[in-house]
Structure formats: structure tokens, C-alpha cells
């Protein structure tokens, strides 16, 4: 039996927001793969749960008329990977969330939870950063859209108020159209693993596919929060894709934009080495995908 004070199953957004306001011990639960474990470990023991898993607004993936893509927060990793819109337009995101835990975890865990728990190791976070995703938050005063680059405030903390519900993510067409990308998850095991380091690279090539029009780089576990590396990105703008010196400069510049820590999984020094090496390897993979 979990140590839950009160349990509320919300079927509409107003119901969920009301339940969160009414009980100051209430927190949001969706897939349960983080929240229930934290409860069992005592970290969130005695809290009340407001389940948002049955709220229609939080489901599914939609491509709007203008080409923007909206992803419901309650979308499980497995459904995201299998989703036809994601497979067609942003396959990298489906691949990235397919590295989370194991099949059973991916059947239950959701992208909303992955981002809202604030972990720097979230496998969807680096990719969403390279997509300039907006986090949609519903609260008492209405809805606000927060760029994911401004969403994280520290380890395990975000700008989301306790009484707000993340309903999903919006990705502008201009942020995915024409790009290809790759996510590399580095860990000691190839499954049931939390990333020691995650690296996401998205590239947009010139028409002749010989040079970079735009490059985006983001990391998981390279800083207290998932982090984007704009200075490194700028290094490769308009450079040729076979310019090895520029690629090396790109990876070296990334090192100036990160701040990893030593943990039982890896030392800071090892993570710095991974940050440099994975930038190169992931860039190469992204270029190969872009050239297909």
C-alpha cells in the first residue's frame, strides 16, 4: 500500500487544478514511474495525488494546420515512439524516449512527467531543447507557454508551480522542418539505465548538403539542468560538414558551456571527456541522417 493521503482522479483540467489548489500536499501523478517510487522511498510519502492520466487535453499528438506539432503531456514513451506524426516529422524524439528504462517503464511513463520531474538526466529533455519546445502549463489564471530553455531552475526544480498542470509541448514547424538529428545516451548498461550523459544534435544542411545552415546541441547530465550550447552551435554555422577542425572547435566550445558534477555514476572529468567526444559522434550521426 502506498502512503497516499488523498487520491483524486481528475477527468477534466478544471477538476485537476481545483484538486491541486484545495490540498497543499497534493502533487500531480500520471504514469507513476517516478512519483510512486518516490512515495515508496519516503521522499513524497504522505502526499496527496491528483491523477491527470484521464484528462483528454493531455492525450495524443497533433500536427496543426500551420505545421506546428503539439504533444500531449500524458503521452507514454511507447506511444510517442510509435506515433505516426513523430515518426514522420521528429523521429529523433521517438528514438530518444525509446532509451528510457525498459519496455514496461516506457509503457507507463510519460513525456510530461519526464520533463516536469526536473531531472537533468531526462532522456527527452536534450532533444526538446534542440527543438525549442514550449512547455504548456495550465493554472488558475489560464495557460502559459514557457520555452523549455527557461523551464528548468535547478536540479529537480522547474518554473512549474505545484498548482499548475503541464498539458503538453508545442514545437514550431520552423524548429523541426528541414532538420535531422540524433540523440546519444551514454550509460554502462544498454537498458534499465539512467544516462551518465546524454547528447542531442540537430542539423539543418545547405541545399547541396555540403555545409551547415544551422546546428543545435544540448546535453543531459552535463549541468544541474539539461543544457543547450549556443556558442558551440555558432561555431559550425555555414561551415562545411567535412571541416574536421571546425567540428573539433565545436566540441571544445561545448566544454565552456557545461558544468557537470561528480556522482557515483561518473566523475566530472569523465563527463567532460564524454561531452567532447559525444558532441563529435552525435554530430556525425546527425549529419548522416540529414544526408539521406
Amino acid at each position: 500500500m502506498f502512503d497516499i493521503k488523498n487520491y483524486t482522479e481528475a477527468y477534466t483540467l478544471p477538476e485537476a487544478l481545483e484538486a491541486l489548489r484545495a490540498d497543499e500536499d497534493a502533487i500531480v501523478v500520471c504514469g507513476g514511474t517516478d512519483v510512486l517510487i518516490r512515495m515508496r522511498e519516503g521522499k513524497d510519502a504522505g502526499k496527496s495525488l491528483v491523477s491527470v492520466r484521464n484528462i483528454p487535453e493531455l492525450q495524443g499528438v497533433r500536427r496543426l494546420k500551420n505545421g506546428d506539432i503539439e504533444i500531449g503531456a500524458a503521452q507514454t514513451f511507447r506511444r510517442l515512439t510509435a506515433d505516426p506524426v513523430i515518426r514522420k516529422y521528429i523521429p529523433m524524439l521517438g528514438e530518444a524516449v525509446d532509451t528510457v528504462g525498459g519496455p514496461q517503464t516506457r509503457a507507463a511513463g510519460t513525456i510530461g512527467g519526464n520533463i516536469c520531474n526536473g531531472a537533468t538526466s531526462a532522456d527527452s529533455a536534450a532533444t526538446l531543447l534542440t527543438l525549442n519546445a514550449q512547455v504548456i502549463l495550465a493554472g488558475e489564471g489560464g495557460t502559459r507557454a514557457v520555452p523549455i530553455g527557461e523551464f528548468y531552475t535547478g536540479p529537480g526544480s522547474t518554473v512549474r508551480e505545484r498548482t499548475e498542470v503541464c498539458t503538453g509541448f508545442r514545437i514550431k514547424r520552423s524548429d523541426y522542418d528541414g532538420f535531422a538529428g540524433h540523440y546519444t545516451k551514454y550509460g554502462k548498461r544498454s537498458a534499465m539505465e539512467i544516462a551518465t550523459l546524454g547528447c542531442a544534435v540537430r542539423v539543418k544542411l545547405s541545399a547541396d548538403k555540403a555545409s551547415f545552415k544551422e546546428v543545435r546541441l544540448a546535453y543531459a547530465v552535463a549541468a544541474p539542468t539539461p543544457v543547450r550550447c549556443p556558442k558551440a552551435e555558432a561555431v559550425l554555422k555555414n561551415r562545411r560538414i567535412d571541416d574536421d577542425a571546425a567540428a573539433q572547435q565545436f566540441a571544445l566550445t561545448a566544454l565552456t558551456e557545461v558544468n557537470p558534477r561528480s556522482s557515483w555514476r561518473a566523475s566530472r572529468e569523465f563527463r567532460m571527456q564524454l561531452i567532447r567526444e559525444l558532441a563529435l559522434r552525435t554530430l556525425k550521426e546527425a549529419v548522416e541522417k540529414a544526408r539521406v
Partner: protein, 162 residues
């Protein structure tokens, strides 16, 4: 607080009063006596408690029972034939000596059922990835993979109870 839920368990409709705080693992084991569902790590890592909810394998230890309201749950008990004999998937696990202590076996069998339901063929490496949510401390996985390969090749989704 108790809540009345309706769920189909191994093909038959159950109406149950359950505590909102209980896991599906606990409900299946203690209220329904379905002890094939094993209590292992209780944090969603070992896969011993794996059951199918609407055909999808989930760790029942981190799944609240109230979430299964209106859904269909399948455990190993639901696989046996009317004659009481083992299903083909179970028999293949026996024949391939994919079972030693047996604690991980029911969970692995349920993942095998899910995989058969996908009606696709998989390479050994893909199967390795598909069973990566299960820990087995006895077999070293080789015999389990031998069994999984045979299951995918030989068992049709029509043999699986819904």
C-alpha cells in the same frame, strides 16, 4: 478510501472494492489469489510483477489498481488451456530450460505474450531489448532468448486469450 472498480481479469469481469492506495500487484495477489504475479523489487526494475493491461506489459508494482478500472488484465493464470494444460508459450519455456528458480518466469511469459500479440518477427538482438525490463539471476538469459525465438516463430496471436 475504498473504490469500486470493474476490470476484466483473465477473461472474466470482476467488480471489486479496492483501496485507492493499493498497487495492481497487491490486488492481484492478495484479493484475487493470482500468485503468478511476483513481488520483486517493487520499484519497476525487475519485471517479476509484469502483467498485461489492455495487451500492454506493465510493472504491476508501480501501477495503481484504480488505473485498471474498465481495463482488461491478463496474468499467467489466464493462459492455461481449458484442459488445465500449459499454454504453448509456457511449454516452450519448459522445453528450452528457460526456467530455473522460476521467479522471473511469469513476468517473462507475459512479455512473450505481448510480443506474440504484436504479430512481428524479431531478431535475437531485438528480443534481447524487448526483455530488457526483466531481471533473471539464474539462467544468464541464453535459454530465455532461445525460448523467445521459438515463441515468436511458432506461436500465433490467435492462441492468446484476450
Amino acid at each position: 478510501m475504498l473504490k469500486v472498480i470493474r476490470m476484466k481479469v483473465n477473461g472474466s469481469l470482476k467488480e471489486l472494492a479496492v483501496d485507492e492506495r493499493e498497487s495492481l500487484l497487491n490486488t492481484l495477489r492478495t484479493r484475487l489469489g493470482l500468485t503468478s504475479v511476483k513481488m520483486g523489487c517493487e520499484v519497476g526494475e525487475c519485471g517479476a510483477c509484469t502483467v498485461l493491461v489492455d495487451g500492454e506489459a506493465v510493472d504491476s508494482c508501480i501501477y495503481l489498481t484504480v488505473w485498471a478500472d474498465g481495463k482488461s488484465v491478463l496474468t499467467v493464470e489466464g493462459l492455461k488451456k481449458n484442459t488445465g494444460e500449459l499454454s504453448r508459450i509456457q511449454q516452450i519455456f519448459v522445453d528450452e530450460a528457460a526456467v530455473q528458480c522460476g521467479f522471473c518466469t511469469p513476468g517473462l511469459i507475459m512479455s512473450a505474450v505481448e510480443i506474440v500479440g504484436e504479430k512481428k518477427s524479431y531478431t535475437r538482438d531485438e528480443l534481447r531489448r524487448k526483455i530488457s525490463g526483466h531481471l533473471c539471476r539464474c539462467t544468464g538469459y541464453e535459454n530465455i532468448l532461445n525460448a523467445m525465438e521459438r515463441v515468436v516463430k511458432e506461436v500465433s496471436d490467435k492462441e492468446i486469450p484476450v
